[in-house]
């Protein structure tokens, strides 16, 4: 059986003329961490927020308020295939960048930059957001312009300043690769052995849906272990949820976003034109300068902050909110600032405590493994911000590759 597979692999590789195929790549038959394999063969998310003794309704109750609906129904094979695609530079036009170039697991699934950078050093215009807990999001992109992971990823795959690919080339490259044809057939047995765009999108979305971060120290606190947070951190939590600072009104636990668009009037870096954000998406002048409220999960890992990376540190980012309502709105620009943006007059000590609290939201216990080898034979990642932005091969680290 093994021999058959090996032979078949060799034959296909020869036929396609692709890079040396590696028949040892096999898709996992088990689900990623935090997922249960159901009898029907799909993975179902399981986490501690699903069992608590709420009265009336499982939906609301205490700090254990339920999580929003999430993407599901993926098989283990689809989720694992997505992992290979995610790290594979074959998905970009110049075979130099992968999804992981800007969503690097080592950098909180972001890239450590103020704004994402394209293959030729282009300024993509906005910061690469974390992908942790992206399965719960109804809308994606800072300006809420994508309604699904599938829609969002097409923006990046086919944007001239991001991966610069085309649908035709993407499908052709994957179909020309015998390994991928075999793996897609495994993950999508109902299809005819041809790699389709829909299957590519679905597999990547399946992998993204496995990026769950709900085991932070905050979660331990929320789920009934008060010792999980220090006195300073609890003080920070109380500032965070107080109606003076009002952070929790938009960054609502447990996801730490209410998934709404908020016009907060945060400044662009010096010299950059104003980004109108959701005004364009919804053709609504009242949403000028509005952006999707980002999750704060793993926020300590994803500096710099805000949509265009104006703030280098968490301390600067939280201080923005006490700088005065509209203090950073450019002169002559009319913005409909969110009503929660006001004059909370937070003390330096309160700002420090907020930063203390935000650092309790870090959890990477379900960090996925970076594949050792890719079906394309290319090195995982392609370009990576982590080594200074130059083209770099895979970086061996303790967290990122622990096969």
């Amino acid at each position: 059986m093994k021999l058959c597979a090996l032979l078949l692999g060799v034959v296909l590789a020869t036929a396609s003329g692709a890079a040396a195929a590696d028949p040892s790549i096999r898709l996992r038959e088990y689900c990623p961490p935090s997922f249960e394999l159901l009898p029907e063969g799909v993975c179902a998310l399981r986490n501690r927020y699903q069992v608590y003794g709420s009265l009336q309704d499982a939906g609301v109750g205490g700090t254990t308020t339920h999580l929003p609906p999430h993407r599901e129904g993926f098989t283990p094979q689809q989720m694992d295939l997505g992992r290979y695609l995610f790290f594979d530079p074959l998905l970009s036009a110049d075979r130099g960048s992968s999804c992981a170039s800007c969503h690097d697991p080592e950098l909180g699934f972001s890239d450590g930059r103020a704004r994402a950078v394209g293959p030729a050093g282009e300024d993509v215009g906005r910061a690469a957001p974390t992908l942790w807990n992206v399965t719960f999001l109804k809308r994606l992109q800072w300006d809420a312009s994508a309604r699904s992971l599938e829609e969002q990823m097409q923006g990046s795959l086919f944007s001239a300043v991001e991966m610069a690919n085309t649908p035709a080339k993407l499908v052709a490259d994957l179909n020309a690769n015998a390994q991928y044809r075999r793996l897609f057939a495994e993950a999508f047995p109902a299809e005819t052995g041809v790699v389709t765009l829909a299957a590519i999108y679905r597999a990547i979305a399946a992998f993204q849906s496995s990026l769950i971060s709900l085991n932070s120290r905050y979660d331990r606190y929320a789920l009934g272990y008060p010792q999980a947070l220090s006195a300073h951190e609890i003080e920070g939590l109380n500032v965070f949820r107080s109606f003076v600072a009002r952070c929790a009104e938009c960054h609502t636990p447990p996801l730490f976003t209410n998934q709404q668009i908020a016009v907060i009037g945060s400044p662009e870096p010096a010299g950059r034109a104003l980004d109108v954000g959701a005004e364009k998406t919804f053709n609504a002048p009242k949403l000028k300068g509005g952006f999707k409220v980002p999750t704060l999960r793993n926020i300590a890992l994803t500096a710099p902050y805000m949509h265009s990376g104006r703030f280098a540190t968490l301390r600067e980012a939280v201080a923005f909110y006490t700088g005065g309502r509209g203090h950073a709105v450019p002169p002559g620009v009319e913005m409909y600032l969110h009503w929660h943006i006001w004059e909370p007059r937070l003390s330096d000590q309160e700002l420090d405590r907020l930063v203390d609290f935000l650092q309790t939201l870090t959890d990477e216990s379900f960090m996925p493994q970076v594949p050792e080898r890719l079906p394309s034979g290319l090195p995982p990642f392609g370009r990576r911000a982590i080594s200074g932005g130059a083209v770099a091969g895979p970086v061996q680290t303790t967290k990122g590759s622990r096969t």
């Binding site: 608590y52 309704d57 609301v60 109606f243 003076v244 209410n258 609504a284 009242k286 009503w339 216990s365």
Partner: protein, 498 residues
């Protein structure tokens, strides 16, 4: 003098109520029927036939007493669920947070003296709770910057008999909760709403006095709320039913404002710039903005200088942003019998323009701007109105069949222990342990070989691990899982077969 007037009004209301069925039924072309079906479908559990006085269930078995000089928070921290914390009269300068279920903070009132939580103008909130079945009674809260009492997602709450003075943005603010009572509180001097029910369901707000605030009682992005028998006076705006745009809950519907005194809400609007309520015209009795199925019944609405009842959509409201996901109109508003006296004697230009367009002038009780489909009004000729010409005649006269939207106390959801173990295993342990491969820790099979008949041994180990295998990193303690869950995790892990 004021007392006399009130008693007079009260008697008038009683007489009015007794006689209302004898009134004529105009032969109107359109009659809006009682929206009973809609309520039956949307009120979980339906409406109760009997008044419900308590939603938090009986008090638990534990009682502790806090004296002046002690910390209330220390008592909460030490309390197990089911504890009543009695707070003796005196002054307490602290913020209290309750992140556990079944805690009662009950002030002890002696010779008229209450325990006072004093924020000194520097502390943020007096009481924050997130637990279920939290009760707060008999306290006096003063001089906080944020809220007097703020609930975040706690269900089955009871907030009763508190005096709340100048506690910042809100006096009493349950948010994201289901099934709660706010009654017999006296709230004043609040820069936004004295009582603010936000994104909540099945709420009863009754017998409160709210005054000298920007807004009296606000029902916002909430459903199934009865607001009755409150004395709402000398605010900038009295009673509000709103959809505020940009919140994750997108609707407000099924709100009953009945049998309230809504009097003299002419306070200067001192809301923070940019806040939603900053747009409320001073002198507004009742304001309905984008909320659906609001019933206004049996209230005495008097001496509100701008307007008695104002119904608007989002487009006509000052200061309101856009939300593509919310219906901006106030649908199916029902104005039943109310006493309206001397309202709108110094109204706003927008209402004056509406009046003029109908060739009316002078004092005005009711105005509507923006679409309000399916709305109705009884005996409209009693009032001076603007913009309600297309309102139908209401096909019902009262909401007497809706005694409460509160739900009877129910026991906690039963969660099987085995389920607890499975979820903890998958939600925590599976990040490091594969069934038969190496991830971070050793495979489950190897652990099974060690502990097969000893789940307790494994449970003890995970609470306080020691390094056993030189080729694996040391396991971090999982002591944040309670002992029962640890045992269930161990059982689940030892029974895995793949």
């Amino acid at each position: 003098m004021i007392r006399t007037l009130l008693v007079g009004l009260l008697l008038a209301a009683v007489g009015f109520a007794a006689g209302r069925h004898a009134g004529r039924d105009a032969a109107a072309a359109v009659v809006v029927p009682r929206p009973a079906a809609a309520h039956a479908a949307t009120a979980p559990g339906g409406t109760a036939a009997q008044p419900i006085r308590s939603v938090a269930g009986p008090a638990g078995p534990h009682v502790v007493t806090v004296e002046e000089g002690d910390s209330i928070q220390a008592a909460v921290g030490a309390a197990q669920p089911g504890t009543t914390i009695r707070i003796m009269p005196g002054t307490y300068r602290e913020s209290v947070y309750i992140d556990k279920d079944n805690i009662r903070l009950v002030g002890v009132i002696e010779a008229g003296k209450r325990p006072v939580l004093d924020g000194g103008g520097t502390l943020n909130d007096a009481i924050l709770y997130s637990g279920n079945n939290v009760v707060v009674e008999n306290l006096e809260l003063r001089a906080y910057k944020g809220n007097g009492i703020m609930g975040q997602a706690g269900n089955n709450f009871e907030i009763r008999n508190n005096v709340v003075v100048d506690t910042g943005v809100y006096g009493i603010f349950p948010q994201l909760g289901q099934n709660g009572i706010v009654e017999y509180n006296v709230v004043s001097g609040i820069a936004d709403a004295a009582i603010y029910v936000g994104m909540s369901d099945n709420i009863h707000v009754a017998h409160n006095e709210v005054f000298d605030s920007v807004a009296g009682i606000e029902i916002e992005n909430s459903r199934h709320a009865i607001v009755e028998n409150n004395y709402v006076h000398d605010n900038a705006g009295g009673l509000l039913a709103f959809i505020t745009p940009g919140l994750p809950i997108k609707t407000t519907f099924d709100v009953v404002f009945r049998h309230n005194f809504v009097v003299r809400n002419n306070h200067v609007n001192f809301a923070a710039p940019g806040s939603t309520v900053a747009g409320i015209p001073s002198g507004t009795g009742i304001l309905v903005m984008a909320a659906d199925d609001v019933v206004i019944e049996g209230n005495i609405i008097s001496d509100n200088k701008a307007i008695g009842v104002l119904i608007v959509d989002h487009a006509h409201a000052a200061n309101i942003t856009a939300d593509p996901e919310s219906d901006p109109n106030s649908d199916r508003v029902a104005i039943l019998d109310n006493v309206m006296l001397h309202n709108g004697y110094d109204t706003i230009p927008e209402v004056k323009a509406l009046l003029l367009s109908e060739l009316k002038g002078g004092d005005v009780d009711i105005a509507r701007a923006g679409p309000s489909p399916g709305s109705c009004i009884r005996e409209r000729e009693r009032y001076v109105t603007a913009g309600v010409g297309d309102f139908a005649e209401c096909g019902f006269s009262d909401t007497a069949d809706r005694i409460t939207y509160l739900l009877p106390p129910v026991p906690p959801r039963t969660i099987e222990l085995a389920e607890r173990g499975k979820v903890a295993y998958l939600g925590v342990c599976s990040g490091c342990h594969l069934y038969n491969g190496r991830l971070i820790g050793p495979p489950v099979q190897a652990i099974q070989a060690l502990y097969l008949d000893d789940p307790q041994g494994l449970a003890d180990y995970i609470a306080k691990p020691v390094r056993k295998r030189p080729d694996f990193p040391e396991m971090p303690p999982q002591d944040y899982l309670d002992p029962q869950t640890r045992l269930e995790v161990a059982k689940y892990m030892l029974a895995l077969t793949r």
